[in-house]
Symmetry: C2
């Protein structure tokens, strides 16, 4: 199951910059960065729920936001990349 994770973290202060680093690092641990603040994660529902809850704990819900797009299993026809750094096939990556 592929989930697209996008986030906006308020980096006006040092705490925000720290939150941003933690969110990005957590996403990199479980997914593939396809754009600056866009990650794709190929994981089963239970693992994805855990990743989601971890990320929610890392952000300040009053200042930051997370968006999850659940694309399911037949996602290849749903994604199109144009331009620099085309992504690879997530399943060439370690699936969880």
């Amino acid at each position: 199951m592929l989930t697209v994770i996008t986030y906006d973290v308020n980096t006006e202060d040092a705490d925000g910059r720290r939150r941003l680093r933690k969110v990005a690092k957590h996403c990199v641990n479980y997914g593939q960065r396809v754009q600056n603040s866009v990650f794709e994660c190929d994981a089963d529902a239970a693992t994805m729920a855990r990743i989601r809850n971890d990320l929610i704990k890392l952000i300040d819900q009053d200042r930051d936001s997370l968006r999850f797009y659940y694309l399911g299993n037949s996602y290849r026809t749903k994604i199109e990349h144009i331009g620099a750094k085309p992504s690879y096939d997530p399943e060439g990556f370690l699936s969880l």
Copy 2:
């Protein structure tokens, strides 16, 4: 039909910053900004194809990238927002 548009534009020079403004402006004309570089666009396939081609002309494909996630019509259960500035229902917006 809902399409998520995300983009990364290289803003190291003035030309890049101009491209970024144009891409964002074009997305705002047709969709709803839900995060800094994430837009959601509720449009039929023909209109979406036109928007896509317009955006491709605006970027430098060697330095920038666009990603399109085609979520189809039954998208509400596929999207989750956590935190600041929750998005509204795209169909509360002008559908094209």
